[in-house]
Symmetry: C2
Subunit: 571 residues, 2 copies
């Protein structure tokens, strides 16, 4: 089963560019004992090679009853599955089918107890989101709350892969900073995208204006999250995307880690799990710390941190945790405003100071503005430009924002491009190792292969936040159409290698109910970067976000791409 970013429906009411759902490849499953039978193709991949990097081979994905699937340190026996196409299997096995998960020594009673305790813990400790069925839940804190969706237990993850992902985070931080300084590279790389993507064009316009007036950002603040999936076959940790704007869930993600530790402290013995194998997660504390440091660098004690928020935001508590810690630990005040409000209330003093509602702004922290939906009128674009023109520290600046686009991700994956921005060869190798196959549609060889084997690719439009990725048969059709039309629209997409993560049985908590299902996980590693002119003040990996997702749609069951917050159990 194939998975790639970035898209559609999720139960978390989030910036949709920051979570990913899943389409099915043409994989066939069969659990017949010891039968190697699978039409699924897999490939190993060498990202430095321009050659078509695939080799097909057979693979058993469904284990025999005697082959344990490891999750959370348990050995789960996978029961007998029906042969057939995955879609069929998923329908037949269904959510909560007891044959699916057979955990020795762990009965339903224990799962119920853990689930109850987990719901209680979430409610008492602010692991909450707005309930989309409650009218004002995205507008007013304290009303229409429900627990955030989370996995009941942490997902097992190889320690060496986790360490590698952490290790590379500061290098990505540095890379974004270097790329952001190369205005020509950003403009040139995105010049064709600009013609076919209005949103990117508007961002580039702001960027051009800043280049024209020779605007320098002395204090540069990055709060990134690099998202990965572990390819089951190659065991490579491959980057899905690098978020340089609105990296979500530092707050709730840190809490889920705490929740899981707490559960394992109480139930670890019964489960045969050790709470110490869950790595600490200080994402929210470190994000708050670097925001406070940026505020300090700006050096106006009366200034505030401006959180740019969407008019309706059911994930507000994630953001409010950050604001709360900023206040409690660092005595830095935040104000929350929408882009429209900033357009109305904002002004620029002659010295570059940004005032919003009469208050000087030290740091602009974007939790909106990453998707075209956030700019319904010229008002929002005026606000964005106003902030960019100001002396406030932008998180991110327009350059940082552009450096995180998919097109730039694809450009950086080209041979010899990383070398333009990074000096250390080891660093370059580490970063490159994370890159999945990424190609522009100018690459006719790849396009031909993708038409032939569309299940091995995902087409990603430049446009963020819309669930606009193209999978499977639609890849073939779109590529054929574009080839025929020979249009500029080519530039609106990149092609990315499809990643095949392993599928694990898991317990997903949603709406107060515990669901059993097959799921895949995506690891996000947060990075924080702050510099003032030549001085790097902070360049750190800080915490992580595990998200676990149902691996397919259900008929009448859990929605496709249903994602929950998770943490890591190191193996």
């Amino acid at each position: 089963m194939g998975v790639a970013s970035s898209s559609t429906s999720s139960l978390l009411s989030l910036p949709s560019h920051q979570h990913h759902s899943f389409l099915l490849s043409t994989t066939t499953f069969c659990s017949q004992r010891k039968t190697k039978l699978d039409s699924r193709s897999h490939f190993s991949f060498n990202p430095t090679s321009k050659n078509i990097p695939f080799e097909s081979h057979l693979q058993i994905l469904a284990h025999s009853p005697t082959t344990p699937l490891s999750i959370c340190g348990f050995h789960w026996k996978v029961g007998t599955l029906n042969c057939g196409r995955l879609r069929k299997m998923e329908t037949e096995v269904g959510v909560g089918a007891n044959t699916l998960l057979d955990l020795p020594g762990v009965d339903q009673d224990l799962v119920d107890k853990i689930a109850f305790d987990a719901l209680v813990w979430s409610s008492l400790h602010g692991l909450v989101v707005g309930d989309k069925t409650a009218q004002r839940s995205g507008k007013v804190p304290g009303v229409g709350m429900m627990h955030a969706p989370f996995s009941l237990l942490p997902m097992s993850f190889p320690e060496n892969q986790f360490k590698m992902a952490c290790e590379v985070a500061p290098i990505f931080n540095e890379l974004v900073d270097r790329v952001s300084l190369d205005g020509k590279f950003l403009q040139d790389s995105l010049s064709r995208t600009k013609k076919v993507d209005v949103f990117t064009a508007r961002l580039l316009d702001i960027h051009s204006k800043m280049l024209e007036i020779n605007k320098k950002e002395d204090i540069r603040l990055g709060l990134h999250r690099s998202d990965y999936m572990l390819d089951e076959q190659t065991k490579l940790l491959l980057q899905i995307e690098l978020n340089t704007i609105s990296s979500s869930f530092p707050g709730l993600g840190s809490l889920v880690t705490e929740l899981h530790r707490n559960l394992l402290i109480h139930y670890g013995e019964q489960l045969g799990l050790d709470s110490k194998k869950i790595p600490g997660n200080t994402a929210v504390k470190q994000f708050a710390e670097v925001l406070a440091k940026a505020w300090t660098e700006y050096n106006n004690p009366r200034a505030v941190v401006l959180v740019v928020a969407q008019p309706e935001e059911r994930n507000m508590y994630d953001q409010l945790w950050l604001s709360s810690i900023l206040k409690e630990r660092h005595n830095v005040t935040t104000i929350r405003k929408t882009l429209a409000e900033i357009d109305t209330e904002g002004e620029l003093l002659p010295d570059g100071t940004l005032l919003v509602g009469g208050q000087a702004v030290a740091v602009v922290y974007f939790r909106a503005g990453y998707t075209p939906i956030d700019y319904p009128s010229e008002s929002e674009w005026r606000a964005r430009l106003l902030m960019e023109q100001s002396s406030a520290v932008k998180c991110p600046s327009i350059s940082y924002h552009l450096a995180g686009t998919k097109k730039i991700q694809q450009e950086l994956a080209k041979p010899n491009v990383l070398e333009r921005f990074l000096d250390n060869k080891e660093d370059i190798a580490k970063v490159r190792k994370c890159f999945a196959g990424l190609w522009s549609l100018d690459d006719s060889e790849i396009v031909s292969h993708a038409i032939e084997k569309p299940e091995l690719y995902v087409m990603k439009p430049q446009r963020e936040g819309g669930g606009n990725n193209i999978y499977g048969e639609d890849v073939r059709e779109t590529l054929l159409r574009l080839r025929k039309e020979g249009s500029e629209e080519n530039a609106a997409y990149i092609l990315m290698q499809m990643i095949f993560p392993s599928v694990s049985p898991t317990f997903l908590m949603r709406d107060g109910i515990c669901h059993k299902d097959h799921a895949i996980s995506e690891l996000g590693i947060y990075g924080a970067y702050l510099r003032n002119k030549d001085k790097v003040i902070m360049n750190e990996q800080c915490g992580y976000l595990m998200r676990t997702k149902v691996s397919s749609s259900k008929e009448g069951g859990v929605a496709a791409g249903f994602a929950v917050l998770d943490s890591i159990y190191l193996t």
Copy 2:
């Protein structure tokens, strides 16, 4: 305006016997400058005297614009109010009328900021209740949550009165224990009530059975809350009732104190308030501690604390905080069961051990079972009896439960009754000082006076939790009817002196909205008592609960008796 317990509608979904709403006396308000004009009667009261203890006199309740009302250390200027009956005034002035509260230096903008921060704090720190508009909010934790209703700022309260209430708590703890041991006193005092109140009769039946089998409770655990109002005229702190079962809000009450401290840490300077003037509130920690100590005394490491809960409980988070702290701090496990579940799953071992769902129970903590509604069938009564027969520590035992009834409260207020249970004369004097006027309907002199001046009394039925108190003109009518019929029904009621607390303008947070209104407050002081045979293990005052309530109903606005959680600002 007159107030007494115990009754009707509240926005907190609570054991209704534990909060109180307000009917209006015949008070007339007028704010005309320096005009002494009030038809309101007031009285001073000597509880040791059998004589009719009232003297009517005039009183100015509405202050002139130059007379400051003190709240939260501010001096609030009360704006011009319309002359007329209170009901009328309330309607005319309305919620959020800016003329009502005129706080120098505190503008709407500041109030909005504080309100927003308070909502955020509540959401992130588990100051939550179930939203009654959400279907499963009383059944499943983590769904349909909203912030608990609370007052935005703490209510000013005289330090000496607060200290006195704290000082007397251990004496009340001791008193309940002594009374509980006098089975004959309980049975005799309630013998007439038994004939007219089925609920009390059932409790007494269980009590009789325990007397018959000579059941001794060696380990006795009391978690009480004594509720008071400060009579404005006499400055006496008068007891409304003593809760010996299901004393609610140790959890959320402690949190509101934390919330208010937090707000004053950030906004105290602007408000001219000092966070240190809010007394600490360790109610939930101490309740957890004494429950853990009782568990230890029971001395079965595998046993649990059984929380007897209602089938639907929107105040579950208050209870869950206690369970959570029991687990985190004391490693004591709780299970939650309804009375019906206990009937189904409970059994008694020959040695007296109570098993519920196969688990031994060390302590039974009742957060249900105090109202007839909790016993819809014989099943629930069987469960209650089963638990009472067991060796588990009961919080409360049937004797403790009965010792907290209104009839016993009234009996204890009779001359020379306290002396039967307490030895220390100073203690007796302190307790007696808290007693409001309490009479049985056998007292024809009082009944005559109450028919004449019904606004000075409240009739309280023995029945708990129903909003069955009788006020005003209805007192007169009911007394006349009872006198005419000469029935046994007399015994179903006691008469209590109406208490007239001061009315303060305040900010009430409910449903994400900040309301300004006139309000009165009721102070609850928690007490924890644990003994094992002759050894008193704990006898402490532990924390407090302030509840603030809108002082009248509104047309189309806030419901009558709308109560919010509050804390204290010592003055």
